[in-house]
C-alpha cells in the first residue's frame, strides 16, 4: 500500500514538473513541427491549378438543413452571422424576417420553403448569405458557411428531371459532391422573389 502510494506520488510529481517546463517554454512550436508545417503549406501553394479560370465556376458553399448549396461568388455581397432578425407579418412563407446590414434593411429568404424541402437537420448557427444584383438585394438563410471553391462546369449537371416552375428557375444544377448549385443571376432577376416591388 505504501509502495503503491509512494509510486503514485512520484508519478504525480514528475508529471507536474513536465507541465511546469512546458509552460515555461511558452507557445513556441517545436523546430521540427514548425518545419513540417511550413513545408506542407509551400507544397499546397506550389500545386498548379487543375482547371483554367474560364472552365470553372467560383461558388460559395453553405449548408441548410440536410442539404448543401452553392451559389456563384459574383452574386454574393457578403456573409454575416445573424445577430438579430425581425419577423414580419403579412409576408410570403419563404420570407423568414428582415435584418439590418450597415443601415440597409434586407429580407432573409428560406430556401427550404422555396424548394419544398422538409425542415430537418441540426441548426448549428444562423448565418445569412447576402446576395446583391443591380435590381435586387436579399439574404439567404444558412446554417454553416463551408467556404469558397472552384467547380469545373463539367462537374455540374444542368439537366434536371422532375423540376418545374420556380424551382427550375432557381436551380442551375447538381455538382459531383451532391451540392445544389443555385443560379445566382436568375435569382436576382426572378420577379417571384421581388418582395419590394409589391408596394
Amino acid at each position: 500500500m505504501t509502495q503503491l502510494d509512494s509510486s503514485l506520488w512520484r508519478n504525480l510529481h514528475q508529471q507536474l514538473g513536465e507541465l511546469a517546463n512546458q509552460l515555461a517554454q511558452g507557445d513556441a512550436l517545436d523546430p521540427q513541427q514548425q518545419t513540417s508545417l511550413l513545408q506542407a503549406r509551400s507544397q499546397q501553394w506550389a500545386k498548379p491549378p487543375t482547371e483554367s479560370e474560364s472552365q470553372s465556376l467560383s461558388v460559395l458553399a453553405f449548408t441548410l438543413g440536410i442539404k448543401t448549396y452553392g451559389v456563384e461568388l459574383a452574386c454574393v455581397d457578403t456573409v454575416r452571422p445573424i445577430k438579430h432578425m425581425t419577423e414580419l407579418p403579412g409576408t410570403p412563407p419563404y420570407v423568414r424576417g428582415i435584418i439590418s446590414l450597415n443601415g440597409r434593411m434586407i429580407s432573409v429568404l428560406d430556401l427550404r420553403v422555396l424548394l419544398n424541402l422538409p425542415h430537418q437537420g441540426l441548426a448549428d448557427r444562423n448565418h445569412v448569405v447576402v446576395m446583391r444584383g443591380e435590381e435586387m438585394e436579399f439574404g439567404l438563410l444558412a446554417d454553416r458557411i463551408l467556404g469558397v471553391s472552384n467547380l469545373p462546369y463539367s462537374q455540374i449537371q444542368t439537366e434536371q428531371a422532375g423540376l418545374s416552375g420556380l424551382q427550375r428557375n432557381l436551380i442551375m444544377g447538381i455538382s459531383n459532391q451532391q451540392w445544389t448549385i443555385l443560379d445566382g443571376p436568375q435569382m436576382l432577376t426572378e420577379p417571384a422573389l421581388c418582395v419590394d416591388d409589391i408596394d
Binding site: 456573409v79 452571422p81 448565418h127
Partner: protein, 588 residues
C-alpha cells in the same frame, strides 16, 4: 356296516372262516359227485371190456373146435373124434357160462339183449349139429360130416360172425359214449374248480384285509402305545375307536389309562415344583399307586410345614442380626467416608490455597507490567493525536488548492469560449475576404489566397479549442473525484481525531485503575502466604483422624460380611421352603 364292526372278534373270525369253509366244502362236494360218476362209468367200461374179452374167448372156442373138426375130417382121422368130444365137453360149460353172463349184463340194453339172445339161440343150434358131426366123425362117416360142415354149419358160422360184428360195434359205441361222458365231466369239473377257487381266493383275501384292518392295525397301534408307556413316554393323545368290540374296548381302556397316568405325572411334576396343594383320587380300592401317591403327598405336607415353621424363626433372627450389623457398619462407613471427604476437601483447599498464592504472585507481576504498558500506551495515543491534527490541517490545505484549481479551470473554459468565438469570426472574415477578392477580379487573386489561409487557420483554431474543451472536461471530472476523495478524507480524519481523543481518555483511566489493582494484588499475595501455613497444620490433623476411621471400617466390614452370609442363608432357606405350596386347610 357298523353292526359288522361292532361284532365280537371271535364272531367275526367264525363268520369269516365259516364262509371260507363253506366254499371249500362245496368245492369238495362237487368234486366228489363228478368223481363218482366217472367211477361208475369206469366200472361200466371195465365190465364191457371183460364182456368183450369173454365173447372173444367164446368165439375162439367155437373157431378152435371147428378147426379141429375140419382138420380131422380132412385127414379122415376117426380117432380124433374122441379127443374133440372131450375138448367140446370141457369148453361147453365155459361157453354156456359166458353167454349167461353176457345175457345178464345185456339186460339193461334192449338191442344188446336181443343180439345176445340171437347168438345164444344160434349157438345152441350149432352145438346140436356139431355134436352130430363128432358122432359122424367117430362113426367114420367123413363125407356126411363134411357136407354138414360145408353147408349148415358154415352158414351158421357166417351168421354168428355177423352178429359178433354187430355186437362189437354196439359195445364200441357204448364205450365211446362213456369215454366222451367222462371227458365232459372232467372239463366241467376243471372249470368249476377254477372259478370257485378264484372266488375263494378273492374272498379269503378280502376277509384277511378286513380282519387285519379291523383287528390287526388297531392292535398294532395299541401295542405301540403300550411300548411307549413301558419306556415311560405317555402319549399326549390316544387314537381310540368307539367300537363296541374287544379292540374298541381295549383302546378306550388304554386311553383312560393314559389319562390317569398323565394326571399322575402332572401331579408328580407339581410336587417336584413344590406344590403340595392338590392330591390324586385313587381309581379303586386296588389302586396301589394312587393310594401310595396320596399318602406320600400327605407325609410331605406335614414335613414341609414343620420345616417351614423352623425356617421362619431362623430367618427372622438372622434378619434382625443382619439389620443391626448393617446399621453399625453403615454408620462406621459413613463416618469414615465423611472423614475421607473432609480430608479430600482440605487437600483440595490446600491445593487451591497454593494455586491462589501462585496466582496472586503472578497477578502482582502482571499488574506491574500492565502499569508500564498503560503508560507507554498513553504516550502513543498522545502522539497519534498530534499526527491526526497535522493531517487535518493538510487536508484543509488540499481542499483549498482544489477550490483554486476549479476556479482557474472555469477561467480557462471562458478563455476557450472566447477563442472559439474569435475563430468563428476569423472564418467568416476569411469567407468575406474571398468574396471581396473575387469581386476585385485578377487584382484580388493574391488576396484570395491569403483569405483562404485565414479561413484554414480559423478552422484549425476551432479544432484546437474543441480539443482544449475536451481536455478541460476530463480535468473537471478528475477534480470532482479529487474533491469527493478530499471531502471523505477530511471527514475520516475528523472521526479519527475524535476516536484518538476518546482513546486517550480511556488509556488514562486504565492506567489509574491498573495502579490501584497492582496495590491490591500485592496485599493478596501477602495474605495467601499466611493462609497456606495454616492449611498445612489442618491437613496433618485430619490425616491422623482418617487412619483411625479406616481401621474401624475394616472391622465393621468383617462383621457385616458374616451377618450377610447368615442372612443370605436364612433367606435362601425361606425361599426354598416357600417353594412348597401347602394345601389351604393345612396352612390355616
Amino acid at each position: 356296516m357298523t353292526w359288522l364292526l361292532n361284532l365280537r372278534t371271535h364272531t367275526k373270525l367264525m363268520l369269516a372262516f365259516s364262509l371260507v369253509i363253506i366254499g371249500f366244502a362245496s368245492l369238495l362236494y362237487l368234486a366228489q359227485t363228478s368223481l363218482r360218476t366217472i367211477q361208475k362209468n369206469d366200472e361200466n367200461l371195465n365190465q364191457l371190456g371183460r364182456d368183450l374179452a369173454a365173447f372173444k374167448d367164446f368165439r375162439f372156442n367155437i373157431q378152435y373146435t371147428r378147426e379141429k373138426i375140419l382138420i380131422a375130417l380132412q385127414s379122415k382121422n376117426a380117432a380124433e373124434g374122441n379127443v374133440i368130444a372131450t375138448h367140446i365137453r370141457s369148453i361147453q360149460e365155459q361157453n354156456s357160462k359166458i353167454l349167461t353172463t353176457l345175457l345178464a349184463h345185456a339186460a339193461k340194453d334192449q338191442a344188446q339183449y336181443k343180439l345176445v339172445n340171437e347168438v345164444t339161440r344160434l349157438w345152441r343150434d350149432y352145438t346140436v349139429v356139431r355134436d352130430q358131426q363128432v358122432q359122424l366123425l367117430t362113426a367114420n362117416k367123413f363125407d356126411e360130416a363134411l357136407t354138414l360142415a360145408m353147408s349148415t354149419q358154415h352158414n351158421r358160422i357166417q351168421h354168428l360172425r355177423e352178429l359178433a360184428y354187430q355186437l362189437d360195434t354196439e359195445v364200441a359205441q357204448k364205450i365211446r359214449l362213456l369215454v366222451q361222458n367222462n371227458n365232459q365231466i372232467i372239463d366241467q369239473q376243471l372249470d368249476r374248480a377254477l372259478w370257485l377257487g378264484s372266488v375263494l381266493i378273492l374272498l379269503t383275501f378280502t376277509l384277511t384285509i378286513m380282519l387285519s384292518r379291523s383287528i390287526g392295525i388297531p392292535l398294532l397301534t395299541l401295542t405301540n402305545y403300550a411300548k411307549q408307556i413301558c419306556v415311560g413316554d405317555i402319549p399326549t393323545r390316544f387314537d381310540f375307536t368307539l367300537r363296541r368290540d374287544e379292540v374298541g374296548e381295549l383302546s378306550q381302556a388304554f386311553a383312560r389309562m393314559g389319562e390317569y397316568l398323565k394326571t399322575l405325572s402332572r401331579q408328580a411334576e407339581r410336587l417336584a415344583e413344590g406344590d403340595l396343594s392338590a392330591s390324586v383320587a385313587a381309581q379303586s380300592e386296588q389302586d396301589v399307586l394312587g393310594l401310595s401317591f396320596a399318602r406320600m403327598v400327605e407325609s410331605l405336607c406335614q414335613l414341609t410345614q414343620e420345616m417351614q415353621e423352623g425356617i421362619v424363626v431362623i430367618a427372622s433372627a438372622s434378619e434382625e442380626i443382619f439389620s443391626t450389623a448393617g446399621k453399625v457398619a453403615s454408620s462406621v462407613h459413613e463416618s469414615a467416608a465423611s472423614i475421607t471427604e473432609i480430608a479430600t476437601t482440605i487437600e483440595e483447599v490446600k491445593q487451591t490455597a497454593h494455586l491462589a498464592h501462585k496466582r496472586a504472585s503472578e497477578v502482582n507481576e502482571a499488574s506491574t507490567r500492565n502499569r508500564q504498558i498503560a503508560f507507554s500506551g498513553c504516550d502513543a495515543v498522545a502522539q497519534s493525536l498530534s499526527t491526526m491534527a497535522q493531517i487535518r490541517e493538510q487536508m484543509h490545505a488540499m481542499a483549498e488548492s482544489i477550490l483554486r484549481l476549479g476556479e482557474q479551470s472555469q477561467a480557462i473554459s471562458e478563455i476557450v469560449a472566447t477563442v472559439n468565438e474569435l475563430a468563428e469570426q476569423s472564418n467568416l472574415l476569411g469567407v468575406n475576404a474571398s468574396i471581396e477578392a473575387g469581386k476585385a477580379g485578377d487584382a484580388g487573386k493574391g488576396f484570395a489566397v491569403v483569405a483562404l489561409e485565414v479561413k484554414a487557420l480559423a478552422e484549425q483554431s476551432k479544432l484546437a479549442t474543441a480539443q482544449v474543451r475536451n481536455i478541460l472536461g476530463d480535468v473537471q471530472r478528475a477534480m470532482t473525484r479529487a474533491a469527493m476523495a478530499a471531502e471523505q478524507g477530511s471527514k475520516a480524519v475528523d472521526l479519527g481525531f475524535e476516536h484518538a481523543r476518546s482513546s486517550d481518555e480511556a488509556m488514562r483511566q486504565l492506567a489509574e485503575s491498573l495502579e490501584q489493582s497492582s496495590d491490591m494484588a500485592q496485599q493478596i499475595a501477602t495474605t495467601s502466604q499466611q493462609q497456606l501455613a495454616g492449611m498445612d497444620q489442618v491437613a496433618m490433623a485430619i490425616n491422623n483422624l482418617r487412619q483411625t476411621s479406616h481401621d474401624n471400617a475394616a472391622g465393621a466390614n468383617q462383621v457385616g460380611q458374616s451377618t450377610r452370609d447368615l442372612h443370605g442363608l436364612g433367606g435362601r432357606l425361606k425361599r426354598l421352603a416357600s417353594q412348597f405350596k401347602l394345601p389351604s386347610r393345612q396352612t390355616a
